[in-house]
Amino acid sequence: MSTTIKKGETHIDRPELKGPVKIRLENVSFRYPDDISRKNERKEAVSKGQIEDLSFTVREGEFVSIIGGSGCGKSTTLSLLAGLNKADSGKLYIDDKEIDGPGKDRGVVFQHYALFPWMRARKNVEFGIKQVQNLERKELRARADHYLDLVGLHGEGSKFPYQLSGGMQQRVSIARLLAMETDILLMDEPFGAVDAKNRVVLQDLLLELLESDSDKKKTVVFVTHDIDEAILLSDRILFMKGRKIYRELTVPMSHPRKREEIVTSRQYLEFRKELFALFYDLDGEDQYENKHIEYFL
């Protein structure tokens, strides 16, 4: 049974996730500076990527997905966590320390990989490691190779990004993220630009990598608009709508997960239906569109 929590309620902890609170947001609001010039427009118009009075926590070792339609503020939330933007009001904490900019305790993966095209795959990974740790050349190379092997890119380290497919480039970017060995992973639609087949492969890879992380210390905040992806990977899903967190749902399946086993389970299908209804606002006003979507469910 899924545990659905309505907006405003405190979130119910899953029994297996009793770690300390790693990330905390308290009444965070943010609006992109460009939008100030548009203040004379319709007041109720929601600016793209704007968030208002956002509060949630993420526990250590937890995998939390933020989903929602485009422009609902999910990527903005992640950029605030990464320290790339500063909140207009409210506070963000990591380990009870306020976030005041980008930090080397957080690794970020972007939708379009953000690999340096002039560095070979291995050098890209090494460059990431070098920024957080001082390692000797040999160790650096060994670690880079280890993580490239881990994401299935054995022997591809000397290729430039343009010589790799989109899926492989995202593997490099995941290897770079993991190689930095940060506790917090922030992922902004990492599989959004990858073709459908590779997306499935990469989701399974990420799931496998995180489940094999023996300490279970990695805390992940994952932004996506793919419902199935969110269910498969997450412990908890935050559904954003209209600048806020509209619903908070705990995924009712335990780890380790196997895609082929869980996607056919009743639990999964029920949960997916619930999330789908939420996502496409099936109880909402637009009855005509809703009928069409219901048909697919």
């Binding site: 950029s79 900019g101 930090g103 972007f110 379009h112 953000a114 002039w118 920024q131 343009y162």
Partner: protein, 308 residues
């Protein structure tokens, strides 16, 4: 089958043309003497050897077709059709003879021009890229300087030449100044534009790494600007030559521009034509060098998308 016959046909044509040149050349030995014709024949054989070495791709024989036809037409016109004003239309064997006689001076001229050009390139690249990276990285400075730079860059650099000659200590430094400033503006403006258009995700990623200013410039911005820099250089190469030759003609005492100007003043047109060919050789050397450097420096850019 059809294409392969056509291919063989294409490949054979330049060799026929070469044979025609050789026959005509040998026929001229008795009236002109072997001393004059020998350098020309040697030159033709060298061209043929070059064709044999390089001629694997289909376009090389095609290029040699054009060169051979040109030499043949020139040879026939100047030796058989227009013998009266020979000093205005010297025959190819006469011009090649100039290379034979003036080889040291021509090599010295090429070196002198090459040195000036490379120094000009170096100064413009270092200053243009360096200042462009710094200015492009600071929005306030960028917004202030870019409009000014766009006005200044529109002034043709050769206009500065007479003033530079008056102000600077020598013709050589004045020439260097003109070439450097002519190349500086496009490089500077292009670098600023490249830096300010840095890919958003890449920029965000560098911010998450908390890169220092110099690390950001050295590891990220500089390589990021490289394709744009090479693009600008390739486009500016012809204007750089214009500046170089212009500057050399204005009063310098060495270089290929000086060589042409010097003999124009004395109406020695065979040497003027030799000068033209020398400029062509210099352009080819610089272009080949540029392609080589570009291929090494931009080995990370998909060659299909280089289109430079």
């Amino acid at each position: 089958m059809k294409t392969s016959i056509l291919n063989i046909f294409y490949r054979i044509i330049p060799h026929f043309l070469f044979a025609a040149i050789m026959i005509l050349g040998v026929m001229q030995i008795s009236p002109k003497g072997s001393e004059q014709m020998l350098p020309f024949l040697v030159f033709a054989v060298m061209l043929e050897l070059l064709l044999i070495i390089l001629g694997r791709k289909w376009e090389i024989p095609a290029i040699f077709d054009i060169i051979y036809v040109f030499i043949l037409a020139w040879f026939i016109y100047s030796n058989y059709l227009n013998t009266r004003v020979a000093f205005l239309f010297p025959a190819p064997d006469v011009v090649i003879g100039v290379f034979w006689a003036d080889i040291l001076l021509i090599i010295r001229s090429i070196f002198s021009s090459f040195k000036l050009l490379m120094l000009g390139f170096a100064i413009a690249i270092i200053l243009g890229t360096g200042l462009g990276l710094i200015c492009g990285n600071i929005p306030r400075v960028r917004n202030m300087l870019l409009p000014i730079a766009q006005v200044l860059s529109a002034i043709p650099a050769l206009v500065y030449a007479p003033y530079a000659i008056a102000v600077l200590p020598s013709f050589w430094t004045a020439g260097l100044f003109v070439i450097s400033i002519g190349l500086f503006w496009p490089i500077f403006i292009n670098t600023i534009k490249m830096v300010s258009n840095l890919d958003k995700e890449l920029y965000d990623y560098t911010r998450t790494l908390k890169l220092g200013k110099w690390d950001l410039i050295y590891h990220v911005l500089l390589p990021y600007c490289m394709p744009g820099l090479f693009n600008t250089l390739t486009m500016q190469i012809s204007s750089a030559f214009m500046l170089l030759i212009g500057a050399e003609m204005m009063g310098m005492t060495s270089g290929v521009g000086w060589y042409v100007k010097y003999y124009v003043d004395f109406s020695v047109y065979k040497k003027v034509l030799a000068g033209f060919i020398t400029i062509g050789i210099l352009v080819s050397i610089v272009n080949a060098g540029m392609t080589l450097v570009k291929r090494r420096a931009l080995n990370w850019v998909d060659s299909k998308r280089q289109n430079i």
